[in-house]
């Protein structure tokens, strides 16, 4: 039983991690909380619904289109909204408020187009299980876990081993210094939004496959926020660690305490972290931004 819950917890945590890493990357570059980040997951999930249930596409193709859609919308928000707000030189608070506005726009639009009805993908995966070491593990949980792990390893590789990743970390550390050295700052920021949108799209589809798709499902963005704070805001490995921990805690609370208290525990944890260790578990404090 415990093993089963643990796998479910890690799997849910993986979905949070896909969102939390993108959220964290954007935070590290632009110093603002992207409250519309979860909506990219919702957009991706709905696009996959449209292509797999209303149009005759195989689910995998629909899912890929959904991921691309999440990336496109994420990139557009940067291009149309955030970059313009930045060019006015206003405080970062404007970016956050803009993000809140975008979040409402996306949720309302989804409500208008698709109504509030819960929708699901055309397969029965959620109910099938396989027996491993005496426990019944959800097939969907396992698939989700494997996909997430592969994507996150790939992401860590991009961030730590490629020139693009180095540029991103450089901008996060000192945007002005990076610009002077010839780093293409705006182009890097755009690419990060595209990357974050892809990750969110995958998260949305996996989440939708597990719990259905509905207009306000983007609120799982809040869980990405809690994960990032738990792991250390702006740190990608921290976001992954925080997300997996949060997924496990939520699943265990649901299983052994009460599922209605799940969010109560999550947000209580957020407040405790902010009070006790605001830098998070992996928040490195070498030196603050110069």
């Amino acid at each position: 039983m415990f093993f089963q819950q643990l796998i479910t917890g890690i799997s849910v945590g993986g979905i949070y991690a896909l969102l939390a890493t993108g959220y964290s990357l954007i935070y590290s570059l632009l110093d603002f909380s992207n409250w519309s980040h979860g909506e990219f997951a919702m957009v991706g999930a709905y696009i996959a619904i449209v292509f797999s249930t209303m149009l005759p596409f195989p689910f995998l193709v629909a899912a890929m289109i959904g991921v691309a859609g999440g990336a496109l919308v994420s990139w557009l928000t940067e291009k149309v909204v955030y970059r313009r707000i930045r060019s006015t030189g206003g405080p970062n608070m404007f970016l956050m408020i803009g993000a809140m506005g975008l979040s409402s726009v996306f949720q309302q639009a989804a409500n208008l187009i698709f109504t509030g009805q819960y929708r699901s993908y055309p397969f029965k995966l959620p109910v099938s299980t396989i027996k491993i070491a005496g426990a019944y593990i959800g097939v969907l949980d396992l698939i989700s876990l494997i996909i997430t792990a592969i994507i996150l390893i790939f992401l860590m590789y991009i961030i730590n081993k490629t020139q693009f990743g180095l540029n991103v970390r450089g901008i996060a550390c000192n945007q002005w210094g990076a610009k002077i050295l010839g780093v293409k700052v705006d182009s890097c920021i755009s690419k990060v939004f595209i990357l974050a949108g892809c990750l969110a799209g995958v998260a949305g589809i996996l989440y939708g496959a597990k719990y259905n798709v509905w207009p306000t499902m983007g609120n799982i963005g809040l869980k990405a926020f809690i994960s990032s704070v738990l792991g250390g805001l702006g740190s990608v490995p921290g976001a992954i660690l925080g997300a997996v921990l949060l997924g496990i805690i939520e699943t265990l609370v649901s299983a052994y305490v009460s599922s209605s208290l799940r969010d109560f525990f999550s947000f209580a944890l957020l407040i405790v972290i902010l009070l006790v260790k605001p830098s998070g578990l992996l928040g490195v404090d070498v030196q603050d931004k110069a």
Binding site: N167, G177, L181, G182, V286, Q287
Partner: protein
Amino acid sequence: MMTDMLKVTDLKAAYGGIHALRGVSLKVDEGEIVAVLGANGAGKSTLLKCISGVMKVAGGSIEYLGKPIPKKPFEIVQAGLVQVPEGRQIFSKLTVEENLRLGAGLRADTTGMEEDYKRCYDLFPRLAERKKQYGGLLSGGEQQMLAIARGIMAHPKVMMFDEPSLGLAPVIIKEMFDVIKQINEEGTTVVLIEQNAQLALEFCDRAYILQTGKIVAEGRGEDLLKDESMIAAYLGE
């Protein structure tokens, strides 16, 4: 005959309504060390920001190798003009090695890059010892070395130094200027911004003196050095 490496003509720039540069003209020949001196607020850093493309020019022109300078900062770096900025602007959460790799980000010539890594570590053995350390954990002098090395990694034709002596001990300053001399002798043109006039005039080939956004004097370093009244009037020493 020498080429005009860099030619600035009647350059104007402003912060909001405040004029920081009111028509600055200067030129730098290939292989020279040219100093731009002036008191705090004279417009020295503004001049470099304009040349680096990170500040909007309000009037006048900047030519590089006989053509108008590219507009975007990365195009300017790619063309061979690199700034070692004031305050060093080290990437504190990246290692020394990563700082250098970031400096070489626009290059595709792998062999040339390997040679330049070696060159940086030869120039600054202390950086070689600290390859894996975070930039933020280096001392002030080491950070200045890293900033210079990072500039070298972009393989510039012109290197512009903004106050490399700022906040450093005299013995480190001497070391830094020796390195700048060496970089120049190896074929890189140098533009040097300094508040420490005595030091810079001894060191440079030619110098311009900037006061409240205008060039008020220019000449060979040693000639300006002899003109004590001028130094007293404009550089406050």
